[in-house]
Symmetry: C2
Subunit: 272 residues, 2 copies
């Protein structure tokens, strides 16, 4: 459920009639977003979220609002409810018809507050998605609004016992889950896809990489392939809202270990 | 300028506050669109537009409105002004947070009326775009709302003497212009990119292919490469709003012929 919608810092009296029909976010997916976990009034990993938002804006040529402006939106939502998911969408704003942005366009900022999802304490069952991710280094890593591939991937299953789907890119590299990054453990070392062609550089992915390094666990950002999952001793997925979740199976393949995931989770809970 | 905005068939009293902030078109580019030329109250190539919209909806799993519903939107706009551009955006509708569509989602239909663009009677000067199109056969051909690549391509130049930019895909194949399909003439025969991996199957592209066949001109839909432009005797681009436009140059390379483009234009004006 959505509890509040701020448009450019102002509470929308009616969120169902809030956005300009000419907004470029709607017409072209021309913008970026962040989905953040707020706990006891504090957005976890705010610095990492703000940094990725800024990187995305730079890449698309959208003027990124000042940090204080973004924090003021979050403060308004925090006053309504200290725990929840805060989503921030930033589009290139309303505009004329046609792909070319207006020279004097003003971005649209949409901040919404949602309930936290139910915590899943069991290990995850994974599946393969048929939908592939297309490769474009110019769009790789940032959390832009062109997300049809992820939407269509999630439409592929409605079996509630399956928690996530893994996605390959057009050349068969393992990139991510539909809404999470993927880590594998191999000989006590950690590896995750390098995302040079596609995929989102998740905030929890960055936090995990940083924490693993602090714990002295070697980490590798490199091309991964489906075979790497079979030889992994442990597999887990990460996202900013749901944290670190260990996987138990992918189709018929199973994993029993989760030591590394638990060690990193503990370190994160202690220090982040 | 936008003259009117219909949301699900009803005239929006205020188009700047017309769309639900949770609309999936805005959040994920989860939808399709058509941009059509209306002349003397008639949408040119309506059947082709309706067919592509239906194909796009099938591919994305969005319920396509009945033809009569779409035509009723157009009729409302026609009564305001008989000549203009009619744009139709169809999204998966408002929804919960997260990529997975609601089982009971209701699509959002946005129909807008805009002025016709100024007719360009001179031949087009083209440039190369740096931005590449990514490959995904599952999304190729349809006019979906994930259009960041086209937006960023058009942002690459602001020299008003350049009319269009040509785009390659990630492997270097020639796909299209930023807002048009591309045709080349070679030994009196016509060729255009087959769009098996990316690009939009333009309505004017289909009309040109059909008309060329009727005129006895051999047509080829096949992979094209930048070199094919240099060996072409004639190059033209097509889109539904601006029609057929011959190119005169691409950077330093020039073309002088436009016989085939003119023959097809004449035939289209006579029969379509």
């Amino acid at each position: 459920m959505t509890h509040a919608t701020l448009i450019n810092g102002a509470m929308a009296p009616d969120s169902t009639h809030a956005i300009d029909a000419s907004d470029r976010g709607l017409n072209y997916g021309d913008g970026v977003f962040e989905t953040m976990r707020m706990t006891r009034g504090r957005v976890r990993f705010w610095d990492l979220h703000a940094e990725r938002l800024r990187t995305g804006c730079e890449r698309l040529g959208i003027a990124c609002p000042a940090n204080a402006t973004l924090q003021s939106d979050i403060e308004q939502l925090r006053q309504l409810q200290p725990d929840g998911v805060v989503k921030l969408v930033l589009t290139r704003g309303a505009g004329a018809r046609g792909y070319r942005p207006l020279a004097n366009g003003v971005p649209t900022r949409i901040a919404t507050l949602h309930d936290l999802p139910t915590t899943i304490t069991t290990k995850l069952r994974l599946r393969w998605c048929d939908m592939r991710l297309s490769r474009n280094p110019a769009l790789a890593g940032i959390k832009h609004l062109n997300r049809l591939e992820h939407v269509l991937a999630q439409r592929e299953w409605d079996d509630a016992s399956i928690d996530e789907g893994l996605m390959l890119d057009s050349e068969g590299e393992l990139v991510c889950a539909t809404a999470a990054n993927v880590f594998i453990v191999r000989g006590g070392e950690l590896a995750t896809a390098d995302l040079r062609y596609c995929g989102v550089r998740g905030v929890m992915r960055e936090a995990v990489l940083r924490t693993a390094r602090n714990l002295g666990i070697p980490v590798h950002e490199e091309p991964l392939w489906p075979e790497d999952l079979e030889t992994a001793s442990e597999v887990f997925v990460t996202n900013a809202v749901r944290g670190i979740r260990s996987a138990t199976s992918l189709d018929a393949h199973t994993w029993v270990n989760d030591e590394i995931a638990r060690a990193i989770s503990r370190a994160l809970d202690t220090h982040a």
